[in-house]
Each structure stands twice: as structure tokens, then as C-alpha cells.
């Protein structure tokens, strides 16, 4: 236990990066998801195809490889991103693909009558989407999105490959130094669990808030 306490600040710094990266990528990923989900459902043929390809490629390839391509691959073309920036970009793109599928399902679950009522009252397709469909779809999408967000929390550990010392990497560094692994792995397991539980809790609050009309 002692080595955990004495190294706690080091681990907490790792946890800080884990949280920071998760939140930033969640934010941008959600924006991407809305755009892509609508593109897939309402776009013209080539836009739909593009959105499909994006989802298929991103979901189909490991996030680790995506991170490496953004960080090292783009460097070959002169785009020298900072590690954190590269992490935000790669993970936003990744989360965007997963969330867009969730959101697409939710949008499709909204009855046709909702569109018809809005159109009949003179709203344009864009107004209808923004004011009537999306608010209801987001409500439906929250529980499955929770799975995605919590998964993302742990996928951030992949960014250690581009030198970001997040929570898992901090543990690995300490293990290499002290040559004992269980206490450190258990310690970060607890920290991840606290973060996940915190996330779930917040998501449930939001869900309940958005459910007042049910």
C-alpha cells in the first residue's frame, strides 16, 4: 500500500489526462456523430456513401492504428501534431463513428408521424430535425451512448503509444521501476472504476432530466 500512497500524485496526474482526453473527445465525437448520423439518413447518395465508408473504416480498424496514423503518419506529410492534439483528433474521429450508429438507430426509432406533424405545420426538414427529431433521438440514444463513453474512458489508454502518460501508462512506468505489478494494476482498476461510475451517474442524471416528459 505504501508504494501506492507515495506514488499517488503521479497516478492522479495520469488519471487527469485520462479524464481530459475522454471529455474532449466525447465532446467533438458527439458533434461528428450528429453530422454523420444525419448524413447517413438524409444525405444524397454520395454523402450517404461517404458517411457509410467513414463508419465502416473507423469501426473496422483498431483505434491504436488510427492514433498512430494521425500522429506518425501525418508527420510524414509535414503535419507535426502535438501528442495531446493527435489524441483528441484520433479519438474524436473514433468515438464519432460509434456514436453516429447509436444516434442513427435512435433517429430511426422516432415515429414517422413526428416528421409529418412538423412538415404539416410548415417546418423545413432542417427545422424538423433540429427542433423535433434530434431532441427525442438524443434522449433515446443516451443509455447506449453510455456504453460507448465508458468504453472510451478505457480506450484512452491507447494514446500512451504516442507518449501521453495517462493512467495506465503511469502504472506501467511505476511497475518498471518497482518491479511489482499487482498493487499498481489494482490501484488503477479502482481509479478507472471510480471514473466510470462517475460517468454513469452523470449520464443517468441527464437521462432522468430528459425523461421528464415520459
Amino acid at each position: 500500500m505504501d508504494i501506492i500512497w507515495s506514488n499517488l500524485p503521479f497516478l492522479l496526474k495520469g488519471a487527469y489526462y485520462t479524464l481530459l482526453i475522454t471529455i474532449v473527445s466525447m465532446f467533438f465525437g458527439s458533434i461528428i456523430a450528429v453530422v454523420v448520423a444525419i448524413a447517413r439518413l438524409k444525405g444524397n447518395r454520395s454523402i450517404r456513401w461517404l458517411a457509410r465508408a467513414y463508419v465502416s473504416i473507423i469501426r473496422g480498424t483498431p483505434t491504436l492504428v488510427q492514433i498512430i496514423i494521425v500522429y506518425y503518419g501525418l508527420a510524414d506529410y509535414g503535419l507535426n501534431l502535438q501528442p495531446l492534439t493527435a489524441a483528441y483528433i484520433a479519438l474524436s474521429i473514433s468515438i464519432g463513428a460509434y456514436l453516429s450508429e447509436t444516434l442513427r438507430g435512435a433517429i430511426q426509432a422516432i415515429p414517422k408521424g413526428q416528421y409529418e406533424a412538423a412538415y404539416a405545420s410548415g417546418m423545413t426538414p432542417i427545422q424538423t430535425m433540429k427542433r423535433i427529431i434530434l431532441p427525442q433521438a438524443i434522449r433515446i440514444a443516451i443509455p447506449p451512448a453510455g456504453n460507448t463513453f465508458i468504453g472510451m474512458l478505457k480506450e484512452t489508454s491507447l494514446v500512451s503509444v504516442i507518449t501521453v502518460t495517462e493512467l495506465l501508462r503511469s502504472a506501467q512506468l511505476l511497475i518498471a521501476q518497482y518491479y511489482v505489478y499487482m498493487p499498481f494494476y489494482l490501484a488503477i482498476a479502482v481509479m478507472y472504476w471510480i471514473l466510470s461510475t462517475g460517468f454513469s451517474f452523470i449520464l443517468e442524471r441527464i437521462e432522468r432530466r430528459l425523461s421528464i416528459y415520459e
Binding site: 415515429p111 408521424g113 413526428q114 409529418e116 406533424a117 412538423a118 412538415y119 404539416a120 405545420s121 410548415g122 417546418m123 423545413t124 427545422q127 427542433r131 423535433i132 431532441p135 427525442q136 434522449r139 430528459l210 421528464i212 416528459y213 415520459e214
Partner: protein
Amino acid sequence: MNKYGDPMIKTENLSKSFSGLEVLKNINLTVETGEVVAILGPSGSGKSTLLRMFNGLEELSGGRIQVGGISVDANQSQRERNKQIGKIRLHTGMVFQQFNLYPHKTVLQNVVEALLIVKKIPREKAITLGEKLLKRVGLLEKKDQYPNRLSGGQQQRVAIARALAMEPDLMLFDEPTSALDPELVDEVLAVIKELAHTGMTMVIVTHEMEFAREVADRIIFMADGVVVEEGTSEEFFSRPKTERARKFLKMEEVIN
């Protein structure tokens, strides 16, 4: 010309197919301004489809339709048609069988939504108007409730208030009472009857024979995608001209 002025709706050889299946065939009809028309007919005869074409919820497959002087026809480009339909919708209100209230908005928000974002009326003015309409349908005290807390009859009255909010020249009703329990039906019928007295042009698809007889100036009777018979309410119910209509009226009697 006739006693009503320009017709509110006029269709010419209107037709509609769903992937090969022709459900409306060469419909020619006119609804005068200020008239209340009930569309009757057996299930699957095309009543809902026809009604939905009046405000562009169904694309037309052939022919021409004119609503409030704005015309849409099968030869226009998609773009042009959409523009015309947009205009038609601005002065047409519709009330759906399944109500289709926005569940995430309160009763008042449901009523004022389109006022705010389509007509872009200032919020305060919209709310005043919305409350006036809710009072008219007897639901002012429910204005801050969400629709799922209301009974079916109450929901349908909110849907009517929502359609009225846009101050339409034409109201379309698709079986406005058939999703309701018997005891909720008359709440809604009362509101529609009151509207009829105000001189608003209305087209109502319904299975309530008694109600159609009472409220409609004219009956359009459809079967298998064509208008089989047309006539004043009085004529249609007491002296139906066609065999098909007689059969239909008899059958309805047995059920009710």
C-alpha cells in the same frame, strides 16, 4: 364562379401509386372555400392518401392539385413542387388520427412551436395566442403538462389547437376520433362542430356516420381509389345513388 368564391381545393386527374399499386385513380374534385366536406368509404379505399396529398405529405404520381390558389402538378420539377408544397402548408392545418403531438414539449410549447420557428412571431405574442387557443379547446389548465399525461381526447384537442395556431384557411382531419375511447370521442367532435360553425374550410375523413351527417355540407364517398359518389350530406344519407354506397351505409349500421 359560385356562392363561395374561388375554390379552396381543386384536383384534376389526380392519381397516386405506391410502387406499382394504383391507390388513387383520376380524382377530380373541388372543395369550395368555407365548405365542410366529409370523405367516407371502406378501409383501404384511399381516403387518407387523398387527404395527405392536399398538403403534400404524399407525392403525386400524376395530375394536378391546387390548394388556395397554389398549384402542384406532376410535370413540375421536384424542387419547384417542394416550393409550392411549402407554401400550401403555411395556410393548411392537419390533425392526425394518432395525434402526433411532440412528446418532449409541453402542451403550450406544442401549440406555439410552429408560430415561433415558422412564422417567427415574437415569443410573448405566440404565447398569448397559444393560451387563447387552449382556452378555446378547454385545456388552458393543462398548458404546462407533457402530452403523455393527457387522455386521448385531451391530446386530440391539443392537436387541433396546434393546427389552428397557424391560422390556416383549410383544416384537414384524418379520422380524428378513431384512436379514442368511446367516452373521449364527443369531446373532440364538439370542438370540430364548433369550428364548422365559424366558417372554416374543413375536409374530414371519418367513420362516424352520425357526425358526418351532422357536420358536413357535402359527402365524398370513395371506394377502390375512385370517387364513387358525391352529394350533400342530406342526399347521401337518405338517398344514396349508387349500390356501393347503399351497401356501405348498411354495413356501418350493423356495426354501430
